[in-house]
């Protein structure tokens, strides 16, 4: 019988207000093997840990149960405390009486009863805990950043500056991401390309950064410190070493029909293209769907005009395999599809556009060379209506339930820029709320109203009706005047909700990183670990974690980089000792466990065993504890019950079941 100590935390009033902690202590002392039990307001505090330390020495404890918050919060704290005081850290169990008890129950008697049962289960388990020793694994001192937008670029630069190698994988032909599509940035109105391009150049020129554009992550295996990643380098059909980026091929290419993705499909590009002038690398790709040569075998004009012979129609997709210690997801966002919003006539009229499309129209490199024009007839709009919250804050299945966060500010920016450049154009913004938390944000919005005369109307638009004369009839409401508004407009701009890049689900699955109902990646803790994924070694940067503007994205990118550096700076990582182990006497070498192991951690060896005095050679399963991640799939598959999971053994779990059902 082990000597067990039980420590019950009040967590201030978080636990003590609904759980009678004294009663839990009293009941604990009645449990078998419990030689000491006490309660304390904050067990995790320095003083609380001293109490544990003293009790370990005084009562010669061989096992500890802490009744407190979730083990996800403080299991590590109490294990370290035990270790410092000479007790194996794996002889500590947590009974979660806060998240799973005091916070969800109101009735004191009921909550106390449950807390006692949870305590009993933990005591029953800790009796059977084995003193485990964590192993060690080496760290590959190199990081992978998935996504080459501002988030990915900043993370990569920060990691590289600390002296570690970084690879950026970007699926588009150039890094730059959404920020490269923006014209100006709020609240300073500086030109987006002017501040982004130097960062792109810095990343490209950095000796520690390798950029794989036109590439996608194909497969991820391994674990923190030791990821193995397959990267598909899509066929570019242009030799990157030879190409000088002169651009002649793009001029001469006769296939000019494909929609220009960079300009949000508002105009077309050639089949061989770089997305934009400042592209990095400045090497075009051939769009295989549109290329005449690749589809019909005839043409070859780009090859003919290329003076350095960089065109190579025979290129194939190539898969490279790399090793990384840490992976940062920086996959960014896109705007939602507006097919379900028939009332805004986005699919009917060319003059109803999204804000991101307006960015391209306002940009000198955009489809209208920076002139504000209606896309239907090229005329200058005199009356522009902005509609806020299109698809944001929706609880129906058409939109997204969250606030997209950036729309209020970029709309103020657009309105201000238009009023500044085209003073005779009227701008009306229909808003529900104007949300401007941020440094100099509200001042910026007020400038739009007070200095630039932008007409802000509180109320949503119900319908946009295209008229035969080409104008747009906007049916809105002014809730403050309690009046319906019918307004004739030349252009309507929709502040379209943003959503995580659709590819993120695929990537999250590969990384086994969890994802929420809106496809945003989940953080390890919403407040205290906002840039880490719950999956060790995977970090989050930028909008893939939640809506953010540029400064926030850059800040988070830096934070993610610091976490990566902290990981790569270690030479060895402690591995989880809760791995599977086969009982040599029971194993019959049937191979079923190896079939279900997702890590290939199980192999078979012929070993001599001593079965009740009879020595014989048997085929026995051997688990490689460096590869085993401790899922336990093999333990259930094993027909003879030979395979067991350390830390979550059959006997331990059954002891918990028994204690709960007692």
């Amino acid at each position: 019988m082990r000597r067990i100590g039980v420590f019950v935390c009040h967590c201030g009033s978080n636990i003590a207000a609904t759980v009678d902690v004294k009663k839990v202590v009293e009941m604990a002392l009645k449990e078998q093997g419990v030689v000491h039990a006490e309660d304390y307001p904050y067990m995790c505090s320095e003083a609380g840990q001293v109490k544990i330390a003293e009790a370990i020495k005084e009562h010669k404890l061989e096992g500890i149960v802490v009744c407190s918050c979730s083990p996800r919060m403080h299991e590590a704290t109490f294990r370290k405390c035990a270790e410092r005081n000479g007790l194996n850290p794996y002889l500590v169990e947590i009974a979660n009486i806060r998240e799973h008890c005091s916070w969800i129950h109101k009735d004191m008697a009921e909550a106390t009863e449950k807390a006692v049962i949870l305590m009993r289960a933990a005591v029953a388990k800790v009796h059977l805990n084995a003193p485990l020793q964590a192993g060690e694994s080496a760290v590959t001192k190199k990081a992978l950043v998935i996504g080459g937008g501002i988030a990915g670029i900043q993370t990569a630069i920060d990691i590289a500056d600390a002296g570690y190698k970084v690879d950026i994988v970007e699926k588009e032909p150039s890094i730059g991401g959404r920020m490269s599509q923006l014209d100006k940035t709020f609240p300073t109105l500086d030109c987006s390309a002017c501040i982004l391009t130097p960062k792109m150049v810095e990343a490209a020129a950095h000796e520690n950064i390798t950029i794989h554009t036109w590439s996608e992550v194909e497969k991820v295996s391994g674990f923190v410190g030791n990821f193995t990643v397959d990267i598909r380098k899509k066929a570019r059909y242009v030799n990157m070493d030879k190409c000088t980026g002169c651009g002649v091929c793009q001029e001469k290419c006769p296939s000019k029909k494909p929609l220009n993705e960079f300009n949000r499909g508002l105009n077309t590009r050639s089949a061989i293209y770089t997305p934009f002038a400042q592209a990095i690398p400045n090497v075009p790709v051939i769009d295989a769907n549109a290329c005449i040569k690749l589809n019909t075998g005839k043409c070859g004009i780009c090859e003919k005009f290329c003076q350095v012979g960089a065109i190579d129609y025979t290129q194939k997709d190539e898969i490279i395999t790399e090793q990384y210690g840490a992976i940062v997801v920086a996959t960014g966002f896109d705007t939602i599809k507006l097919d379900k919003y028939g009332e805004y006539a986005y699919n009917e009229s060319k003059d109803v556009i999204t804000s991101l499309e307006l960015e391209r129209i306002m940009n000198a490199a955009g489809p209208t060379k920076g002139h504000l024009e209606r896309l239907s007839d090229g005329k200058a709009p005199k009356e522009i209506v902005f509609i806020q919250c299109v698809g944001s804050r929706c609880s129906d299945d058409r939109g997204k339930p969250y606030c997209s966060k950036i729309c209020c500010m970029y709309t103020a920016k657009h309105a201000m820029l238009i009023r500044d450049k085209y003073p005779d154009t009227n701008v009306t913004v229909f808003y529900i709320d104007v949300r401007t938390p941020g440094k100099n944000f509200d001042e910026f919005y007020r400038r739009a109203v007070e200095d630039y005369g932008v007409n802000y109307v509180k109320g949503q638009v119900g319908k946009v009706a295209p008229q035969p004369d080409g104008s747009l009839m906007v049916h809105g409401v002014d809730l403050l005047e309690n009046k319906q508004i019918v307004k004739k407009a030349d252009m309507v701009v929709l502040a379209t909700a943003i959503e995580p890049n659709p590819d993120v689900r695929k990537i999250a699955t590969m990384l086994t990183a969890s994802i929420d109902t809106n496809n945003f990646l989940t953080e390890a803790h919403p407040k205290l670990r906002p840039v880490e994924s719950p999956t060790a070694g995977v970090f989050l940067s930028g909008v893939c974690q939640g809506p953010k503007d540029i400064p926030e994205t850059v800040a988070q990118a830096g934070a993610a980089a610091v976490k990566v550096i902290g990981l790569l700076a270690k030479d060895k990582l402690k591995t989880n000792p809760c791995t599977a182990k086969a009982d040599e006497l029971r194993c019959n070498g049937c191979s079923q466990c190896a079939n279900v192991c997702p890590y290939g951690a199980i192999s078979y060896e012929t070993k001599q065993v001593n079965d009740h005095g009879i020595r014989e050679d048997r085929r026995i399963a051997v688990v490689n504890s460096a590869l085993c991640q401790g899922c336990g799939a093999c333990t259930v598959t094993c027909p003879s019950g030979a395979m067991d999971l350390q830390g979550f053994s059959n006997r331990q779990i059954i002891a918990e079941v028994d204690a709960i059902c007692r």
Partner: protein
């Protein structure tokens, strides 16, 4: 059951979901005829002022075109709220309601189909 609970039950709507965007009022073809506007319905229900809502002109000016229900981003559906208020009224008055047999005699050939449909929605109970 009080009136507010009754309205919630009949309409199946949770008025607390409203974010006061006004898209219902922007969409309403009878807006100018109404004394209480569609975006205000929710506030009347939340403030337990169902009586005023039921007595308002709006209850009968609503065309039951369901544009507000279709477009409401928060699933609040003011059209259903006013419809529920109307039902409570009709149930109170009981005999004064139309029975289906009476409708053919009241029909005018000039009346558009949609109006018949919405009349059916409004008066069928």
């Amino acid at each position: 059951m009080n009136k507010v609970e009754e309205i919630k039950l009949i309409s199946g709507v949770n008025p607390l979901k409203c974010m006061k965007c006004g898209k219902c009022s922007a969409s309403c073809p009878s807006f100018n005829e109404m004394d209480i506007k569609p975006h205000q319905f929710v506030t009347y229900v939340i403030n337990d002022d169902v009586e005023a809502l039921a007595q308002s002109k709006s209850a009968w000016k609503c065309l039951s075109c369901f544009a507000c229900i279709e477009r409401c981003p928060r699933d609040v559906k003011p059209g259903k709220l006013i419809d529920a208020a109307r039902q409570i009224l009709i149930r109170q008055r009981d005999q004064e309601g139309l029975s289906p047999d009476e409708i053919p005699a009241l029909l005018d050939e000039e009346i558009p189909q949609q109006l018949l449909m919405s009349a059916f929605r409004k008066y069928r109970r």
